[in-house]
């Protein structure tokens, strides 16, 4: 009988924050059309390494399994991407799985993305409509504008752009392309526009738009193909106008 084809997976394991890391290799019987998540589930059922040593199940996060939530983002063969849409048949083996490097590790492939949500708060990435009385319906949004703004709304805060960005690292406070692109989204909205000064003001601070290094990795790394570099350039223009205007009226 011919030897059964195997899928080889190499995983960077770490039992917790500030614990040492180790590499473990696994072999899974080949089946067609598997993704990285289904391989991790196989390992979870039978956590034995390729050399036959019993180990703990690998920890990872996932939710939607259709590339809209971003929870399963990890480094797959050195590139940040979603494990659910990473198809085994399209990957070079051994498949190397590592946690994202720009976020604190919780365990194994699970990381804490809290900082991305903090950045969204920093730039006021929402539309304040709460009040003590009914504000009525808002202004209409032009259809052409809605179409390109919709593309920006696809951001799932997965962290691929942060992972690819050389300006996001422990020596820099750069908030990264995703939060900045959200400023463009909410400033484009007719109701959100009423508070655009708050978002632009936040972008002028340290870690804001001026810290972009124009390596343009973000737009290549984005799984949702959001035009991040266009957002950055557009907000450069807006931030310049805003800063000059604010200074002249001071």
């Amino acid at each position: 009988m011919a030897e059964q084809k195997k899928i080889q997976i190499k995983i960077r394991r770490q039992d917790g924050p500030n614990k040492p890391f180790r590499w473990e290799e696994f072999e899974i019987p080949y089946r067609e059309k598997l993704n990285v998540i289904s391989c991790l589930m196989e390992i979870q059922k039978n956590p034995i390494t390729a050399s036959g040593v019993k180990t703990t199940p690998v920890v990872w996060e996932c939710n939607c399994l259709e590339e809209v939530c971003g929870a399963c983002t990890m480094n797959i063969n050195g590139q940040g991407k979603q494990a659910c849409s990473a198809l085994i048949d399209q990957l070079e083996q051994p498949i190397v799985l590592e946690p994202l490097t720009k976020f604190p590790i919780v365990r194994d492939l699970m990381i804490d993305r809290q900082i991305m949500f903090d950045h969204l708060k920093t730039v006021h990435a929402w539309i304040p409509i709460d009040g003590t009385y009914n504000l009525g319906s808002g202004p209409r949004m032009a259809e052409v504008k809605r179409q390109w703004a919709y593309e920006l709304s696809k951001c799932m805060t997965c962290g691929c752009c942060m992972e690819a960005c050389p300006q996001v690292n422990p020596r820099s406070k750069f908030i990264g392309p995703s939060a900045i692109s959200q400023v463009r989204l909410f400033n484009a909205h007719p109701t959100g526009e009423m508070n655009k000064h708050e978002r632009l003001s936040a972008l002028l601070d340290e870690g804001g738009i001026a810290d972009c290094g124009n390596s343009q990795n973000c737009v290549r790394a984005c799984p949702k193909e959001i035009p991040l570099t266009t957002s950055l350039a557009d907000l450069n223009r807006e931030a310049n106008k805003f800063a000059i205007n604010r200074w002249l009226r001071k």
Binding site: G213, S215, N236
Partner: protein, 202 residues
């Protein structure tokens, strides 16, 4: 963050850093490269031009304000910018990512080059013979060729990012057109720079 809170000067410093790269440093670089073509006319003509330049009244003040202070400010802050980056070209092998890295390397090299260049000529004997002698050594020559090429690269690639920083080239298409335009400018300036160096080899 309330409106009343005046932001720190971070944005202003970054924008001044960007502007200094073109005005006055980029303009000075271009002028400098053109002026040195006079060396093609031989030592006599070159030394005459240099002496004329240096005999301008208030040349020291002009050099201080238009050349020294802007370059020092751009270099000091630029070195900080280099420190705050962390390259990942081995994982993300895109051309633009390489340009990001080369921009930083060329900036640091140009700083070393400019310091040596100024020490050699501005504080030493500024004439044809000094340069000719320095460049007669293979090491001195390669130091100059690399310095001139990397300075021009840093300027032209810097102009590419400059157009984004100032919100001129917003979309990918205009950025690409500007990239090719700057590629041509890089080649033209490099030809002039190499002609300058060639003049001192005779």
């Amino acid at each position: 963050m309330s409106l009343a809170q005046v932001s720190n000067h971070h944005f202003l410093i970054r924008r001044v850093h960007s502007l200094l790269g073109l005005v006055p440093i980029g303009f000075f670089l271009t002028f400098h490269l053109f002026l040195n073509l006079t060396a093609l006319g031989g030592p006599k003509q070159y030394d005459l031009v240099i002496n004329t330049m240096q005999s301008f009244p208030g040349i020291f003040i002009a050099e201080l304000i238009v050349i020294f202070i802007p370059i020092a400010a751009h270099a000091i802050y630029g070195t900080w910018v280099v420190y705050t980056g962390q390259t990942n070209v081995l994982r993300y092998k895109y051309a633009r990512n390489w340009f990001y890295l080369i921009q930083r390397i060329s900036g640091l090299y140009t700083l070393v080059f400019v310091i040596t260049h100024v020490y050699l000529l501005r504080f030493g004997e500024a004439n044809f013979a000094t340069l000719s002698e320095f460049m007669s050594q293979p090491l001195g020559l390669s130091f100059y060729v690399l310095g001139v090429l990397l300075a021009i690269f840093h300027f032209t690639n810097g102009l590419w990012a400059f157009a984004i920083t100032w919100g001129l080239t917003v979309g990918p298409h205009s950025q690409r057109v500007w990239l090719y335009t700057l590629g041509v400018i890089f080649v033209l300036m490099s030809v002039i720079g190499m002609a300058d160096i060639f003049a001192f080899l005779k």
